[in-house]
Amino acid sequence: MKLLRLVPLLLLLSIVAACGGDDASNLTANTLQRALPTAPETLDQHKARSTQAADILRDLGEGLVGYSPDGELVPAAATSWDVSEDGLTYTFHLREGAKWSNGDPVVAAHFVAGVERLVNPATAAFYAEFLSDVARIEAPDDSTLVLTLTRPTPYLLSLLTHPATFPIHTPSVSEHGDGFARPGKFVSNGAYQLHAWVPGSVISLRRNEEYWNNAATSIDKVNYHVVVQDTAELNRYRAGELHITSTVPPDNFAQVQTELSDQLHVAPYLGVYYFGFNLSRPPFKDNPGLRQALSMAIDREQLTTKVTGRGEAPAYSWVPPGTNNYEPPALSYSAMTQAERNQVARNLYKAAGYSEENPLRIELRYNTSDTQRRTAAAIQDMWKETLGVETTLVNEEFQVLLANIRQGDITQVFRSSWIGDYNDAHGFLKILESDNPANSPGYQSDEFDSLMRRAAQQTDLASRRLYLEEAERVMLADHPTIPIYFYVSKHLVSPEIEGWGDNVLDYHYSQHLSFKAAQ
């Protein structure tokens, strides 16, 4: 009986426990609330691999070169640079008076230390080979940095906007070791500094008063909220808790288009959604005709308007349109109508030895998600209708799918995608080189490889471009993959926010944004 008297007390205590424990500061003035679809794995610029981590790191740090809101390359930590005639030596002149968030000057040696840490095997960096074309990096004095390349790399400047190439504050790395990328320890050279971090929930940034261009930074605080579910994200945006969303849920897209059209930003994005064939096993090994038939029978217009329906562009090439200094060649049949394509596809299907009595039976693997399932089911239908292919849909957890694609054993057709790390056609084409680890179909073509090698030797941008375009043309004719659509970036941006620019890389530095009322 005595114990029962304790029950109300216990209840009261647990309610108090539920309420206490947080500081009740509620200062949200001049704070930008942004959303991330998944939690970044780290803020150590060399261990990071996700686009989410890179987004935050571009707020915290600054590379030699940066991007304007519209996606133009602009000087950042370097004010200018000279390129040698052979295109192999870049000399960067660093900004005078640039400082780290603790007031230390940013010197050329910090860039050298960054690259050394990036390539050091002990760092176990995901992007360790990102600068593999750089032979040497030297700092002749505090404000000069010289990069010597093994071959002309016209996209070097866009690589240097990537956080993996940012300078590193050497003293804090030696003091804290690998744990330097934490609040209270992280010393940064960008417009913001790390203030607080609750893993899986929120990362808070504060203005970096020492930043050379601090006067131009308008927003004092930036919170990155991890919101895994896209519908939850939309709800939070509508409730006024977020200023910028990371996406728009497919089921609500039409509604958003009508109700929030002035806040919706849909822009081409350097990413291709594709199906890959396992080229090391029948039925797709040495069978380009059959691969072409499956590719042609997919009605991409229908798919992008009726199934995905968020402004995606039908893909008839591998490299997305909008890629710098490049005009992607189109698949041979792109000028045909879908009816004509279907007719040719049926002929190819028959020529490959399949018919109504003897249909092709394949498995299509995709990672478990509603959007993937719908796309896969629509394509299953198109293949069945046009060719009579019996497709079994196999959904797998993402890591399982990756393992199966890699093993190349049971996998026949799989869904995948490639997102550009930098704005250059090479970044997309290289993954289909015979020895590239990301060549998941296992495409092997001497002709393609040699064109890629020749392109890499060109110092002249125009002739390099011709070789790359020719390489893509050769590859497309072999149909190692089915490019299905090109991604678009989709954001809701609050009408309170100014300075937002749509760009193909989907980079949106917080330092470029401001609140309308604040001006």
Partner: protein, 307 residues
Amino acid sequence: MLRYTLLRILGAIPTLLLVIALAFLMVHAAPGGPFDDERALSPEIEANIAAAYHLDEPLPKQFLRYMGGLLRGDLGPSYRYLDYTVSELIAIGFPYSMRIGAAAMALALLIGVGAGTVAALRQGALLDRIVMGFSMIGISIPVFVVAPVLVLLLAVKLHWLPAGWTETGDLRRYLLPVITLALPQIAYIARLTRASMIDVLSRDFIRTAYAQGLGTATVVRVHALKPAMLPVLSYMGPAIAAVLTGSVVVEEIFGIPGLGQYFIGGALNRDYTLVLGIVVFYATLIIALNLLVDILYGVIDPRVRYR
């Protein structure tokens, strides 16, 4: 009683070891690894990463390394949150999960027992039907449906409550998650209480109490409530476990940095150490809670004696 408690604790050790070994085998049996990505890496980089995180060692050696760490109280580094250790993540996540869980349990007990008792006293009447009807809905509608509906109504339309987790200390951020989490438990506890209370109210000693001229309120409070609570009490162990682990969906929907969200993220990303760490932590907690409930049973029910 002390002897009993000690024996139970000793008996829990093999259980815990078995749980750890099974969990270790299961997480490693899942295809893929923590650093697999659509952007496949070159063999050299892959080898670097595997070596840095000891993933290149044979499984038995990895197990011994893990057990060795565990004995020193070290749950290892997280592979999903590279800047944090598993112990740090549990220390961050558990207080949130616990606050939300405790508040949800408190709410469930208050409303569940109250509603169940009222329903039992009005057995068959309209009020009883309403309570039972609502509890049926509470049991059958899953959390991932209830949560968005509540958010849409209370946050998006009415702007009464925040729709998600706020980084500021705004206490209102707890309300929607707690209500969402409590609803099914309210329903269960209401049904349990009602059934048990009806049973107790038909007993002879209750009739005696009424015969003494006591009012219904006194009879229920003094005589009926305690015996009627026994089934609810035995449900508390599983209920607390259900609330703690069941908060996974709630935590993800509301973006709460709790253990449930870490667990799911860890499992999907093959964060072996994070998943194992949370399993070990929860297994220990559940064993301890079951023990506690058994001991409490002995205190409340004079017929139960431990030797």
